[in-house]
Symmetry: C2
Subunit: 245 residues, 2 copies
């Protein structure tokens, strides 16, 4: 039995009520909440009286160490992430860094990730098999990302893209669409959702050919349908299989 428990909590898309009841209870029970500045700002007002510690982007290892240092002092600590802590989130790094803090037990609290949060806004694009791919090549070679786009398209997966754009990667979504268009039809039903569960939430349904020409920002999640995906009353819907009645 380890002496200290430290939580890694996915807070969901942003809105307080899209967090799980467990996430809210854990945060209420903590003394210290650690996170990236933007996420801390999303929850701050709902958890008065807590100590909030933040580090900027690219200081993720430091952020984890900060959390563990508080825990070994005897504080009840939660590291927060937007969406789910286990999907491009901090759960993995917390477990890696936690290896150096053998008295601390890391517990991950799941949340609603942008894929499912965004899917709910669009309708039901992820009902069947899908692949989640991040277009960020900060830690992954672009060739590997392209390979995934191609293989996912060959196998007719619905594809959900995280990090479709950034200041330095303005043309990555276009490049990704070009790879997918080698195996997916230009008419494939696609959807984009920005600011999921936050002020300014916005969605649009379009074809893969149109998506290629559409600029998106870093707060956008992109959905590319499979060969069966259709538009029903303005919603993006993938049926459950290949033999619908």
């Amino acid at each position: 039995m380890k002496q200290h428990k430290i939580y890694v909590v996915g807070i969901g898309p942003g809105e307080y009520e899209k967090m799980t009841i467990q996430a809210a209870r854990v945060l209420e029970s903590c003394d210290v909440i650690v996170g990236y500045t933007v996420y801390v700002d999303l929850v701050k007002e709902h958890f008065p009286g807590k100590v909030f510690l933040t580090t900027p982007m690219k200081q993720e290892v430091k952020r984890c160490e900060l959390a563990f240092e508080e825990a070994v002092k005897g504080k009840a600590v939660a590291m927060i992430c937007s969406g789910d802590a286990g999907v491009y989130g901090m759960a993995g790094l917390m477990l890696e860094v936690g290896h150096g803090y053998p008295d601390c037990q890391v517990e991950v609290v799941a949340g609603v990730t942008a894929a499912t949060g965004g899917a709910a806004v669009l309708g039901a694009p992820l009902i069947h098999d899908f692949a989640l791919i991040s277009l960020s090549d900060l830690l992954t070679p672009w060739e590997k990302i392209e390979k995934r786009l191609i293989c996912a398209s060959q196998a007719d997966f619905v594809v959900c893209l995280y990090n479709p754009s950034s200041r330095k990667r303005g043309d990555y979504l276009r490049k990704a669409c070009e790879r997918m268009l080698e195996y997916k039809s230009g008419d494939t039903v696609c959807g984009i959702v920005s600011n999921i569960g936050r002020p300014g939430e916005n969605m649009r349904i379009l074809t893969l050919e149109e998506l290629k020409e559409t600029p998106v920002d870093m707060f956008t999640t992109v959905f590319v349908g499979n060969s069966q995906t259709m538009v029903i009353d303005g919603n993006m819907v993938t049926p459950r299989g290949y033999r619908m009645k």
Copy 2:
């Protein structure tokens, strides 16, 4: 503006507190809660005074019609699903059936799906790109499922398998492992989680070679790592990319 609003609510893995605050609020606001018997039993005690309507497995279309019929009578109605309503859930079918009820507006409320709920139990297997594949060939030809297993393995995706087994499909997980072993190493770190967020929750970490020989039941979710996935202090962890310090 449509006259009636009808909700499709993902209740998460099972435990009440793993549901989102929004899901709980919506269910509290409803008169009628419709669902598959097993899911209704999971929530019943937390929402006293509601009318619960159920249909058995394979009566999904009828279940949707039941929900819409209540809504057009003026009742506040929610259709519930385990996990997320948009991942192998009822959101798609509700939108399809809803086309016949033009006065009803369908709203999907996202939840924690077994992939992220199970990942939290194992550690952090889904931190990087992953593919979700159902092994059920009820609506999808097995050749299509095999193609997805192969393509996902070729591109070094982490693979999460839903419906890995059933009475009629006892050897499907073995067959799936054989396909993945064509491109993934036998040492690949894998994890299985059963009864996520329910009594009897159980997890195990093993290799892909071992997974091939392991019988699982239909309440199990299976995780197959990528080439970078490792075991840290008993947890299954996939690092964020390919260039970790």
